[in-house]
Amino acid sequence: MSDVTTGSEWEVVVGLEVHVELRTATKLFCSCPNSFGDVPNTNVCPVCLGLPGSLPVLNSRAVEMAATVGLALNARVQPSRFHRKNYFYPDMPKDYQISQYDLPICAAGWLDLPDGHRVGVERAHLEEDTGKSTHLGGGGRLHGSDGSLVDYNRAGVPLVEVVSAPDIRSAEQARSYVAELRSILVATGVSDGRMEEGSLRVDANVSVRRRGGTLGTRCEIKNLNSLRSLGRAIEHDAARQVAVVESGRQVSQETRHWNEEGGHTVPLRSKEEAFDYRYFPEPDLVPVEPPGELLDRLASEMPPLPAERRRRLIDLASEGRQPSRAAEDQVATVVDLGLDDLVLGAASRGASTRLALARAANEAATDPSAARGLSVESFAKLVSMEDSGRLSATQAKAVLARMLGEGGSPEQIAASLGYEALDPSQLSAAVETVLATNGAEWQRFVDGDEKVAGFFVGQVMRVTGGKADGRAVRQVLAQRRLDSLAP
């Protein structure tokens, strides 16, 4: 995808608000289960239903997770308090949402993108999620709805809202930021990172300006349920805003809804007073001040973050040389899917890092959850079998697919698939058979045409039913040529 503003006098300026559902066992202010996909309105109690006389009590685990997010984003974790954000909307039965306003729990951090660009994180605060509305009837999901059905199982689920500075300059960077943030949230165990299920929801503040000029009016885009939507929506709305300004009009500050099917944004109708939230301090909750000992413990429990894990794998795979773009992509995939321990484990058992990386990034990545369940020993054994020529590349991939699908050791699977390695005499015999019927090609090879080797490998594969190892065939061919040239 190329950005509309690439190479033009226009620059797009993006800030992102990412809402992260925390993977606690219970809600933020009550002991209802925090669980996705249950029977509607069964994880509900007087507190999250907003019944009179009920009182909220803060979940300690949610505080720890929010502080962990802050530490992972290089933010200051500080004394904070809660406010009520008042609005009449049926997704919150209390008619207010408990959020943090002037004193968020985390402030002034940053996130470094894989390309080295640093994005400021202005704040990350705790708040409760709203209930889930299903819009009925009418001509669309929002407009003209006849009514809505509300399930309060999600109302009160803990969220951390991570607010970036307007430091993002392209759709590509926006996707990269969310992908990196998601990796960090998954690595620290605070989120399952599932955008499709709404565990991670992104709003984008988008404006355009002439390069180096003053900031333009921004629009907030909602309903971005995937990295793809995020990128497309930013591209589209930046182009729309440029067209508005170039036609002599002004961009109006508004909230817009991304229409995925139509590939465009539409303004959301809203009543003019809807944004008067009348924030005031939540009288039923006392301030929360994460103590230094807690922060020390959380910092000591912090797992290696994706950037460090990528660096570790790149160092190992590149062996001191400049890593190739392909290797970097493989490393990014493997770390993103949480398969780096598998590769590192295989490497520490003597398997080829390069080959382990390739099998993890290409084949294992097709079923990441099964791949994360593979034993390091089995994966290392598979890679070593391919590396030694005991299995051809094609065979190794088939064995790995079976390991992912049904489990089992690579030796047993190879045997059950009939992947018995050819012994040297069988291999030589197969090579001789092929050479005997392809004299002209053989002569070209003897004369130094290395490209013909590939042809011979293919022929040997054919007569052996794919059991031969390509590298072993090349070795036999090279030896055979040496022999034929000997005096």
């Binding site: 219970t26 069964t42 803060l58 049926p90 299903t134 809505s148 509300v150």
Partner: protein, 104 residues
């Protein structure tokens, strides 16, 4: 500074707050609440006239922080109990009037 608040609470402001709170007030009520709200603000102005140089701002009267609970699931209401308060329910959910804009 706050002394002049009494004159500064307009009927329009009361009407705005009433609209936010989904209250339908008559013209006579708007007038009455405007003067009553002004009186409340006058009282705040009395407090502001004290010398509070040495008093830290506070959002809570209790000298407490970090009142927390363990992340342990507890009892919930049944769906039937939850929906008992719903004017109308469909498929186990609260049925509510149409919504024009997304939640903030």
């Amino acid at each position: 500074m706050l002394q002049s608040m009494a004159e500064r609470i307009s009927v329009e402001q009361v009407a705005h707050v009433a609209r936010l709170s989904r209250l339908r007030l008559t013209g006579e009520e708007l007038e009455r609440f405007a003067s009553q709200m002004a009186a409340v603000l006058d009282h705040a102005a009395d407090v502001a006239s004290l010398d509070l140089e040495q008093v830290l701002p506070t959002s809570h009267p209790l000298p407490l922080v970090n009142v927390l609970r363990a992340d342990q699931p507890g009892p919930t209401l049944s769906q039937q109990e939850v929906l008992a308060a719903a004017p109308e329910a469909v498929d186990g959910r609260f049925s509510v009037p149409s919504i024009l804009a997304e939640a903030p």
